[in-house]
Symmetry: C2
Subunit: 214 residues, 2 copies
C-alpha cells in the first residue's frame, strides 16, 4: 500500500472509532468519511462493507479484551482474575458505545465470531472452572452467565458516560457478590445464552431511537 | 363519543398494543392504522400525537405495575413484597418489548412521569425501608438501585421472548441474592439514577437497529 493510502486508511479508522464511541455504530458511513476528510469512494475502496470497517475499527479493543483475559488466566488467584475480567470488560462496555454495539452486533460478519468468540469462551470456561475449584465462585455459576453479565451491563449504557460507568460499576459490584460461593438459595435456571448468540438478540427495536417521530 | 368512534378507538389501541409488544414503540403509526383497519386520519383524530397513543396503549400495564406495588406494600413480609415487585416488573419488561420502551421512553410526554413516577418512587422507598427494617434487605441498598435493576433487566430483552424471560429470571435471582442482608464486602457507590431519569438515558444509538446498512 502506498504511503498516502495508508495515511487515508488510518484517518478513516480513527474517525470511525471516535464516531462509534460517541454515537454508536449506526453513524452513517458518509459521516465517517466527512470526519476523516476523505470522499465516500476512498472510504469504500478501503472498506467495501460496513462490517469490514467495524471489524477493523474495533480490532484494538478486541485485542485488549483478549489481553485482559490472558492476564486473568495468569493471575495466581483465579477469583481475582475472574473479577478483573468482569470489571474491565464491563467498564469498556460502559464507556464506549460503539464497542458495546460491535459486541452485540447483529451483523455476524462484523466480527469473526467463530474464531474470537470460541477463543474467548474457552479461556473464560477455564477461568470459571479454576475460580470454582478455588472455592470462591459458586458451583451453580454457569458459563452462560458471562453473557448474562454483558447483556445486563449493556442495559446501563446510555447517553452520559459518567452515569453509565457509575451504573455499570454498581451493577458489577452487586453481581460479583452474588457470584461468590456461600449463597444457599437456588437460582433460576441458566438462560440459553452464549457469546455466539449475543448478536442474535439484536436488533432491539424496543429502544427509542433519535428522531423516531410520528 | 359515538359508538363507532369508540369502537375505532378500541381497535386502534388493541392494534398498537400488539404491534408494540412484538416490534417495540418504533413501529410506524401507519402500520398501527393498517392493522386496526382504519385510515391514518382516523387514527390522528383519536391520537393527535405518538405520545398520546403510547400513553393510552400502556395505561393498563402501568395500572398493573401500580397494583403490583400496592399488593407488595400490603404483604406482611416486606422482603417477600420487595422480591415480588422486582420479579413481576422485570418479567413484564422481559416479555413486552413495547412496555420496556414506554418505561425507558425518551418522550417525557409519553407518560405522566411527574405523577406516576413520584407515586411509584414513594411506594418503593417505603417498601425498601420496611425490608431493611426487617433485617432482610442490605442496609447499603440505595433506592436508585431499583432503576439499576430495570436498566440491567432491559439489557436482557431481545428478539426471543423465551430467551429474554429466561435471562431476566436468572439475572433477577442473582440480583435479589446480592440484595440480601449479610454481605460483608462494600459495593461500588450508588449511581445517580432515578425512575425520573431513565428516559434521559435513551436514545441508545449503540443498539444496532433493523435495516441499518451502509
Amino acid at each position: 500500500m502506498r504511503a498516502d493510502a495508508r495515511h487515508n486508511r488510518e484517518r478513516i479508522l480513527q474517525a470511525a472509532r471516535q464516531a462509534y464511541a460517541v454515537h454508536g455504530i449506526d453513524v452513517p458511513i458518509t459521516t465517517v468519511a466527512r470526519r476523516a476528510g476523505v470522499g465516500a469512494a476512498t472510504l469504500y475502496r478501503h472498506f467495501p462493507t460496513r462490517a469490514a470497517l467495524i471489524t477493523e475499527a474495533f480490532a484494538e479493543q478486541f485485542a485488549r479484551c483478549v489481553a485482559v483475559l490472558e492476564e486473568a488466566l495468569e493471575d495466581p488467584d483465579p477469583w481475582r482474575g475472574f473479577c478483573s475480567v468482569v470489571d474491565k470488560v464491563c467498564a469498556m462496555q460502559a464507556t464506549d458505545r460503539g464497542f458495546t454495539a460491535a459486541f452485540l452486533s447483529q451483523f455476524p460478519d462484523a466480527i469473526d465470531y467463530d474464531r474470537e468468540h470460541s477463543r474467548a469462551e474457552k479461556g473464560l470456561a477455564l477461568l470459571v472452572q479454576r475460580a470454582k475449584d478455588a472455592g470462591r465462585l459458586r458451583d451453580d455459576f454457569d458459563p452462560t452467565d458471562i453473557t448474562l453479565v454483558l447483556l445486563a451491563n449493556s442495559g446501563t449504557v446510555g447517553e452520559s458516560q459518567h452515569v453509565s460507568l457509575a451504573a455499570s460499576r454498581r451493577l458489577v459490584s452487586y453481581l460479583l457478590q452474588s457470584f461468590q460461593a456461600g449463597h444457599a438459595d437456588p437460582l433460576a435456571p441458566p438462560a440459553p445464552l452464549g457469546l455466539h448468540q449475543i448478536h442474535k438478540l439484536s436488533p432491539r427495536r424496543d429502544r427509542p431511537t433519535a428522531g423516531a417521530e410520528v
